[in-house]
């Protein structure tokens, strides 16, 4: 059944075929991933980050307050779920983990996690980016345990 307490790495989802249809207002994000850079939206008026990308600042409601800033992609696991019944593209990759990570700049980012055992995966675990290449030259942000904790 729910085999979530062992030392084997959780299934990764690297073999899943993905074609992602971008919104035009998200393009700067995807362009950044070509160089494995995590570039997210920042509201100049309120000095806060937001994710996912929007056509306006969710804080001020204005387009002109948005700029794009590179961030480290480091954070901690805020929550996770182990998927036993995936979406059609993910059939046969189950069980795999989906995590919600709170980035150090104060936004949550939902993604997959790799190089991680079921035993290791915990709320509060430190993580760093893992960039998975896609066919179009962009990369998909995933996370991996950040074991180099100072």
């Amino acid at each position: 059944m729910a085999n979530t307490s062992n030392n084997k790495p959780l299934n990764d989802t690297l073999g899943v075929k993905r074609t992602i249809n971008h919104f035009d207002f998200s393009e700067p994000y995807w362009e950044g991933t070509r160089q494995k850079k995590l570039i997210i939206q920042y509201c100049k008026a309120t000095k806060k980050f937001q994710h996912f990308p929007r056509p306006v600042s969710i804080f001020s409601g204005r387009r002109r307050d948005i700029e794009w800033r590179e961030v480290s992609g480091k954070g901690v696991v805020h929550s996770y779920t182990i998927t036993y019944r995936g979406t059609p593209a993910f059939r046969n990759a189950e069980p795999y983990a989906v995590v919600s990570v709170t980035l150090d700049v104060g936004v949550n980012f939902i993604a997959n996690i790799i190089n991680c055992t079921a035993e290791e995966l915990k709320v509060g675990m430190k993580v760093k980016p893992y960039w998975h290449p896609l066919d179009d030259g962009t990369h998909l942000l995933m996370f991996q345990p950040d074991r180099n904790m100072a």
Partner: protein
């Protein structure tokens, strides 16, 4: 005129089906006929059509309510489709009352008909999903509630057996409800709940609602007109509030808090009731944990004390806080645009619930939950307080 000057004068409901054997408009016609027969209202007196927009079958037709009015031969001064997801049914009551107050219609037909198993034209492609969750295989609502459950568990701890208690109670109610989906009318135990297979750990199969087909409807008019018509079993909406995109202008939110905190206070305030006055509770149930979160958000108990509250109370139809006495959606089937819990509350207050009739019919609290947003809990919350005339 205000919300409480209006009345629900009748309800109608088909049996919930795993998959409909009739077209959605055949079901709609059955509901219309039953409401007319029950009330003696002439079809031509209906001058308002208010439909829940939570429809898979009608999703691709931008003219769904108009098309339906045409099919049913209804000429109306108010033609409305309410798009607040699983809050739509309760939202239809508030909007119909507002339209009657404003004089846009006098007799409103609220229609909740959907055959989304037979024919689903839902399309989520123009949403965050295509870029931000589909590429990671996050499985829609179960995945989102998996994340929500784990976040709750890490903050407060969570005894899953107590969620199982809610599942068992609702299932017992479905056994007493002949309109519940037959597939679900099988007794379960807490152990069955605990052993049911993981879908999106910690969400189990028996946490989840099952999509099903069916239809329901209500007839509404002013209390004054209902009295003139001699309609005696009136149910009055005395408090309503909804909240969409709760804390939508913030980037990091506590996912254990929802818009129900806001609309619960507002709806109960309008009703002049405290939460301890609530005689039966009919919360939206897409996943079992949503019920527990609502105990906390509405103030039945404090945040983090939901498990203890479940342990301390009997939610059977003859218990101290009757809960989703028709089985809820989870044990009756997610049909009829998620109107099941609303229709059940109306039935209870009219004293027509038979073997599952609650003793205390002085009021009922009905809620809604609609849509799943990114990294939060849900998009819309609603609360509706009903009392008998």
């Amino acid at each position: 005129m205000s919300l409480r000057d209006n009345a629900i004068v009748a309800y109608a409901e088909t049996k919930v089906m795993e998959k409909s054997d009739r077209n959605v408009w055949v079901l709609s016609g059955e509901i219309l006929e039953e409401l007319l027969d029950k009330t003696g209202i002439d079809k031509n007196e209906i001058d308002g059509l208010v439909m829940a927009g939570l429809t898979g079958t009608g999703a691709a037709n931008p003219f769904w309510a108009q098309t339906t009015a045409d099919v049913l031969g209804l000429e109306v001064g108010f033609c409305e489709q309410v798009h607040t997801g699983g809050c739509s049914a309760a939202g239809c009551v508030a909007r119909a009352a507002a339209a009657i107050d404003y004089g846009m219609c006098e007799v409103a037909f609220l229609l909740f008909a959907d055959t989304h198993v037979l024919e689903d034209r839902t399309d989520h492609s123009h949403s965050y999903r295509r870029e931000w969750t589909d590429p990671y295989g996050l499985m829609g609502p179960p995945g989102a509630f998996g994340l929500l459950s784990r976040a709750y568990e890490s903050k407060y701890g969570l005894d899953y057996r107590m969620l199982g208690k809610l599942a068992v109670t609702q299932r017992k109610h479905a056994l007493l409800n002949e309109n519940a989906c037959e597939k679900l009318r099988v007794p379960i135990t807490i152990d069955d709940y605990m052993k049911s297979r993981m879908i999106a750990d910690p969400i189990r199969l028996l946490d989840c609602v099952m999509r099903a087909d069916g239809a329901a409807g209500l007839l509404m008019m002013s209390r004054k007109r209902a009295k003139e018509k001699g309609l005696s079993k009136c149910i009055i909406p005395i408090g309503y509030a909804e909240r969409t995109n709760f804390k939508g202008g913030e980037n990091l939110v506590d996912v254990t808090k929802s818009g129900h905190e806001v609309c619960g206070k507002k709806a109960l305030g309008a009703a002049g009731l405290g939460i301890k006055d609530i005689a039966s509770f009919h919360p939206y149930d897409d996943f079992i944990i949503a019920i527990m979160l609502q105990f906390e958000a509405f103030g039945f108990c404090k945040p983090g004390e939901g498990v203890q509250f479940i342990r301390d109370h009997d939610f059977s139809h003859d218990g101290d806080l009757p809960l989703n006495t028709g089985g809820g959606q989870i044990s009756a089937g997610q049909a009829a645009c998620s109107s099941h819990n609303l229709v059940e509350a109306v039935r209870q207050l009219q004293g027509e619930a038979g073997k599952r009739q609650v003793k205390d019919t002085k009021n009922a609290l009905v809620t809604g939950i609609g849509w799943i947003n990114y990294g939060r809990n849900w998009g819309s919350s609603a609360a509706l307080v009903l009392v008998p005339e």
